[in-house]
């Protein structure tokens, strides 16, 4: 299956060539968010926010073909 992984802020260092931090990653069926992070070489300890299709998710969440995974370090603003 294909997952669209979107890396933000400092996490883009894991994929410096991906335009705007967006990668399309092939994963096997049943892959979790944690599996995807391993595939794109992002250390889960550096991650604070995870969103699947715009909704907060955790590392154990099982992904489906076509899902959009947003990955952020700790961030804030106002």
């Amino acid at each position: 299956m294909q997952i669209e992984v979107r890396l933000y802020a400092t996490l883009r260092q894991a994929a410096p060539d991906a335009p705007a931090g967006v990668l399309t990653v092939a994963a096997s069926a049943g892959a979790t968010v944690a599996d995807l992070l391993a595939l794109v070489n992002v250390d889960p300890a550096a991650v604070r926010l995870l969103m699947v299709n715009g909704i907060a998710a955790d590392l154990g969440r099982v992904l489906r073909d076509g899902d959009r995974l947003g990955v952020f370090p700790p961030l804030g603003g106002g």
Binding site: R48, G54, G77
Partner: protein, 573 residues
């Protein structure tokens, strides 16, 4: 020390303000306005007062303790208004021992006045040469006259023209007027009083005294330790600034796009903090810029154009959104120019962007057309009839063009988080006495950022409690003179709040507890609501515009579904 400046008689008096002891910042400005201004007064009339006050910790060197509060009855909302701002002015006032300047009455003569504040007191000076100047030129002229080190706060032509959403611009640490008391039209109140500028020179000012200096230092260390430990205040904000939120909110489906018709913007990355940071670095600009003395977080920035000339500074998420996503615009250079024009004419970027979004909805220009948006902002500078409509804010613009999707509460534009997809901040917009204001109770923390716990942003449950607690805590923090961004550390690291309490107690010799300070926050909200009730703005006004409950917001296709009866429970204390 409190100064009263009467613009009708041009007399200045001073007193100790015994009735205002124990108060600072928003608690002080809202108390003065509610005690001294008739709620029925016209905001631009003789009975309104404009107050400039320092926070409890101003001038002490407290970490991130550089905020100053302005207060008055707002011409935009008709409510009480507190708008706080960075830059060095509050620190200088603190060192001069000044807790408040209360500007009263209306002038008899049509000439711009400048308040010159020094260790010798306050002088009112005529400044005919400043008439019709915008903020950058005004600040430069005053620095030439009073010295580069003086802190300047001034209005542009929008304030002189008494436009309801005019702001007051303040100089930053480098003397550029990149900081604004932006919201609620206090620039128009200043304009009505003939006051073009306030200039503060703290030469011969003295260090603030402490009841217990060692205890103060220990408290300051706790707060600075927390700010340096929390990843948001030590890494995220200094690197990317507040605009890092653009991608987060778009990903979460809560970035209001094209006048609040979608929650996700395909151009979000082009206007987000990552792009802003990369562009600033490439052109020799700066991120990690501190706007006021003692700022540890340094969320501000300096943004240069393609030629390498400084275009704007203090380029915030709210502005990148209001002048960007809300207009369907993703050209960051054009947005930076709009930000500069707003800062120069002296209008609020949030209100201006949302007003433009409403005007685009009406077909005045096309969404996405940044050149047309720039020209519309220039109309504000020229004070044409169209410029005056936009300069009166989003609600007036909606009425002028017969538009129903007008995102305002109590006449003030809703900022950069769609309340349908970030429901906790929706509760704050609906209920804060300020009119729609994200900073009054920033539920985005627990809704989106996983700071201070987690509350699902799409569900109604838990939002009222979240907003209430944040509104109370914020009303206290806004009274200390601390920058609100310390809240990220306060919400996650217990030492941060301990440090704040210890600093306030040590400054004044108090023994107050956290509960006492939260009671101060509650009292601020009671004062403000009592004023609003007197002005005819009551609980019935605590709601969002109808369309948020009826129109679904993509991509999550959600509406705002917190019942009005639940909103009415926010102020149950």
């Amino acid at each position: 020390m409190f100064y009263r400046v009467n613009m009708a008689t041009l007399a200045v008096s001073k007193d100790d303000g015994p009735q205002y002891q124990g108060l600072g910042g928003r608690a002080l400005s809202s108390r003065i306005v509610s005690a001294e201004v008739d709620p029925a007064a016209h905001p631009l009339g003789a009975a309104n007062k404009l107050v400039f006050v320092t926070g409890l910790l101003s001038g002490t060197g407290a970490p991130n303790g550089g905020r100053m509060s302005l207060g008055a009855k707002s011409p935009l909302t008709g409510t009480i208004k507190e708008s706080n701002v960075g830059g060095p002015m509050s620190t200088k006032l603190g060192r001069l021992g000044i807790r408040g300047i209360i500007v009263e009455g209306l002038p008899n003569k049509d000439v711009p006045y400048v308040l010159k504040v020094t260790a010798a007191g306050i002088a009112i000076e005529e400044a005919p040469g400043l008439k019709g100047l915008d903020i950058y030129d005004t600040a430069a002229a005053l620095q030439k006259q009073y010295g580069a080190k003086a802190a300047v706060g001034c209005i542009g032509t929008a304030g002189e023209n008494k436009m309801a959403q005019a702001c007051v611009g303040f100089t930053d640490m480098e003397g550029a007027p990149t900081r604004q008391a932006g919201r609620g039209g206090l620039g128009a109140v200043m304009g009505s009083k003939g006051l073009k500028a306030i200039v503060v020179d703290d030469a011969r000012g003295r260090p603030v005294s402490f009841a217990d200096e060692a205890a103060f230092r220990a408290g300051a260390k706790k707060l600075s330790g927390a700010l340096l430990a929390h990843p948001v205040t030590s890494q995220g904000l200094p690197t990317y600034g507040t605009d890092v939120l653009a991608n987060i909110l778009s990903e979460a489906g809560g970035l209001p796009t094209r006048n609040f018709s979608s929650g996700r913007f395909e151009g979000a990355n082009n206007i987000g903090g990552e792009t802003l940071h990369a562009t600033a670095m490439e052109r020799g600009g700066k991120t990690g810029h501190g706007c006021s003395p003692g700022c540890i977080i340094r969320c501000s920035n300096i943004y240069k154009d393609k030629k390498g000339d400084v275009l704007t500074g203090g380029f915030e998420y709210e502005s990148c959104w209001s002048l960007g996503a809300d207009l369907g615009i993703d050209n960051l250079d054009d947005i930076a120019l709009m930000n500069r024009l707003c800062d120069d004419y002296g209008v609020d970027t949030i209100e201006t962007g949302v007003a433009l979004g409403v005007a685009m909805e009406a077909g005045v220009a096309k969404f996405g057309d940044s050149k047309a948006a720039i020209e519309l902002i220039k109309e504000i500078g020229k004070a044409t009839p169209l410029g005056r409509i936009l300069g009166s804010g989003a609600e007036v613009t909606g009425k002028a063009f017969g538009i129903t999707r007008v995102p305002t509460v109590k006449g003030q534009a809703i900022p950069a988080y769609d309340p349908r997809a970030v429901k906790g901040v929706g509760v704050t917009y609906a209920t804060t006495p300020m009119g729609a204001d994200h900073t009054a109770g920033y539920s985005v923390t627990a809704n989106i950022l996983s700071v201070g716990g987690k509350v699902d942003p799409l569900k109604p449950e838990g939002q009222v409690d979240l907003s209430r607690n944040l509104q109370i805590a914020t009303a206290f923090l806004d009274s200390t003179g601390l920058c609100l961004f310390v809240a990220f550390a306060v919400l996650d690291i217990p030492e941060a709040l301990e440090g704040i309490i210890e600093m306030c107690n040590a400054r004044f010799g108090w023994q107050k507890t956290a509960d006492d300070y939260l009671e101060m926050g509650k009292q601020v909200l009671r004062d403000e609501r009592a004023f609003n009730a007197g002005a005819g703005i009551g609980q019935g006004d605590d709601d969002l515009p109808e369309f948020f409950r009826k129109e679904q917001l993509p991509p999550h296709n959600v509406v705002f579904d917190i019942p009005k009866s639940e909103l009415d429970k926010v102020f149950n204390f």
